[in-house]
């Protein structure tokens, strides 16, 4: 298999797949999405990151024309969701946060029914279902009921189902939440193949490794607004240092030691169990700390990750 040019899925027109200006979503007095702007290009893989309640799902539901906007303008596939919802959704696949599979029916019947919603002829659905079951590694479970399947299998089936209409735009709301590492890696591989295939992916996640793996570009959402946007690399460059040094001292010592290390790094963060030094040269900072006579019980020098960016931008306080 060669890396053939991506099949045309609207890329030639230059029109964005999704374009939003001043997008607002309110539930009564609560503002879930507070005026965001973004553009998603054809073939791009775009991520929404953010803690729980940041407004990711509300944004996704507006893009998928399930939830009407409270304010702003939105165009999806160059159509207006308010008036062309059906046409948009006929070219879009949606993987909701919670599976909505029919548990009493078989794996195959779930795909068959879904294809009927798109009015595809049975023969076509059957042929596609066969390929999709293979893609989702569910071929030998085709005639089993969905109920007893594992979480990973159900998730794969939900994704396969969203692909039955051969969509140009695939929207995934926390596709791998609750899955074990094997299942997550399998899903990432499948999603990567879709991306290669020219499908535009829109993903929400709170797994930073997932965002780094899958997203060309992403936004970090917090309290309904965008806290940052860019490629994963850009975000790390802009909002963190190259490296992070993690130092563990005896419990209780961290608050006292931290001020003495402040000059060693661009930024120092004190956590209950360790001190983090944000610096471009981790080894140098670590050596200097030793020279000052601070010998930690445990040290780690690592590259900055999206997780550091995420925690910096959205805070360490638990959000519920």
């Amino acid at each position: 298999m060669t890396d053939a040019p991506v099949a045309d899925r609207g890329a030639n027109t230059g029109t964005p797949m999704v374009e939003a200006h001043g997008l607002v979503k309110r539930f009564g007095d609560f503002v879930a999405v507070d005026g965001v702007d973004f553009t998603i290009a054809a073939g791009e893989s775009f991520g929404f990151l953010g803690p729980n309640g940041a407004g990711k799902t509300s944004t996704m539901r507006m893009i998928s024309c399930i939830s009407p906007l409270s304010e702003g303008t939105l165009r999806v596939l160059d159509l207006d969701p308010a008036t062309d919802g059906a046409r948009i959704r006929s070219r879009m696949g949606l993987v909701p946060q919670e599976d909505s599979l029919d548990l009493e029916l078989t794996v195959l019947d779930n795909l068959m029914i879904y294809g009927r919603y798109f009015d595809l002829p049975r023969k076509v659905i059957r042929a596609r279902a066969e390929q999709l079951l293979d893609f989702a590694q569910l071929t030998d479970r085709a005639n089993d009921r969905v109920d007893p399947l594992s979480g990973g299998m159900k998730r794969r089936l939900t994704i396969a189902r969203a692909l039955i209409s051969d969509p140009d735009l695939l929207i995934l709301d926390e596709p791998t939440t609750g899955l074990d590492p094997q299942a997550r890696h399998l899903l990432w591989d499948r999603l990567y193949r879709l991306k290669q295939d020219g499908v535009t992916l829109v993903i929400t996640t709170h797994y930073m490794d997932e965002a780094e793996q899958l997203c060309d570009r992403l936004v970090v959402m917090d309290k309904g607004r965008f806290a940052a946007e860019g490629t994963p690399r850009q975000l790390i460059d802009r909002h963190s240092t190259k490296e992070v040094v993690e130092l563990r001292f005896r419990p209780g010592q961290h608050e006292d030691i931290a001020p003495e290390l402040a000059h060693l790094a661009e930024r120092v963060e004190v956590l209950p169990d360790r001190i983090l030094l944000y610096t471009d040269d981790g080894d140098a900072a670590l050596a200097e700390a030793g020279r000052l006579g601070h010998v930690p019980q445990n040290t780690l020098v690592r590259r900055s990750t999206l997780e550091d960016v995420f925690l910096r931008l959205t805070g360490r306080t638990l959000v519920d």
């Binding site: 029919d102 009493e104 390929q131």
Partner: protein, 279 residues
């Protein structure tokens, strides 16, 4: 427009030529098709139940109890008790299906199984979803009425070709409950309200709407109450049709009254479904 580029493993970009005429099935019918799939799984037990229940009722109450009634008071209104009872039971059964199929299944589709959500992610709108579900309930009532009429004929209780119109009449009677109850179900967060509705509305109506005895046996006040409920009109209409005692305007009035409940219920359901699902 259908150039197919078979990509990576030929998994996507299928590029089959799908004839345009195949892509015109009304949206609500696509939603109804889902319930048809569900029925594939349960139709055997459902048909057996639809067959057994009337046979048991007509045998025990209609024939056995009916023979006592017929001996003592020469039937009811000039016909044997079993012939009197059968159309009443028919309308009552339609009510029960209309009510049952729009309570728990609606809640399941909203909350437990999230079927409506899956449909809404496809090109269907909430109104297609609602109409499709109600159309399916109507179809299921029609299946049951057809079986019931066959059994009534076997019991010799079909007196006139007018009985064929008991099919739409039964569907109307069932949906006079189905549509408003679907509207109600979409407002509920738990299913506790359903058992209450069943115990305090559906069962009393089944017993006191002229199903088993003429409502002239009831105190005046309750008679007026019975007039107001849809089941009384469903029973009266089905009875006139199977006994061949059609009274033009009166029966049209029954049908019109049932229709008002169906349409009003549907109108309210459009609002409650949209309020619940489109947020």
């Amino acid at each position: 427009m259908t150039t197919s580029t078979n990509s990576v493993d030929g998994l996507f970009r299928h590029g089959e030529v799908v004839p345009a005429r195949r892509l015109t099935t009304p949206m609500w019918l696509r939603a109804a098709a889902y319930w048809g799939y569900q029925y594939k799984r349960t139709w055997r037990s459902s048909v057996i139940t639809s067959f057994l229940i009337p046979v048991l009722y007509l045998t025990s109450m209609g024939v056995a109890l009916g023979s006592l009634i017929d001996r003592h008071s020469h039937g009811v209104g000039g016909v044997t008790y079993v012939a009197y009872l059968a159309p009443g039971l028919l309308a009552g059964t339609c009510m029960q299906i209309g009510a049952n199929d729009t309570m728990w299944p609606v809640m399941a589709a909203i909350k437990w199984m999230r079927t409506y959500l899956a449909m809404l992610a496809a090109p269907l709108s909430i109104y297609d979803v609602l109409l499709g579900h109600l159309a399916w309930v109507a179809a299921r009532i029609a299946i049951v009425v057809t079986i019931y009429l066959g059994i009534m004929a076997a019991f010799g209780t079909v007196y006139s070709p007018w009985a064929i119109l008991a099919l739409p009449a039964g569907v109307l009677a069932g949906m006079a409950f189905g549509a408003p109850i679907a509207a109600f179900a979409a407002t509920q967060d738990k299913d506790a309200g359903f058992s209450t509705l069943y115990r305090f509305v559906v069962i009393p109506l089944f017993l006191f709407s002229g199903t088993f005895f003429p409502i002239s046996q009831l105190p005046h006040l309750l008679q007026y109450l019975a007039y107001a409920t849809p089941l009384f009109h469903g029973v009266a209409l089905c009875r006139d049709l199977t006994l061949g005692q059609v009274h033009g305007w009166v029966d049209l009035g029954h049908a019109a009254y049932l229709m008002v409940w169906v349409l009003a219920g549907y109108g309210v359901a459009r609002l409650t479904f949209a309020k619940r699902m489109v947020v």
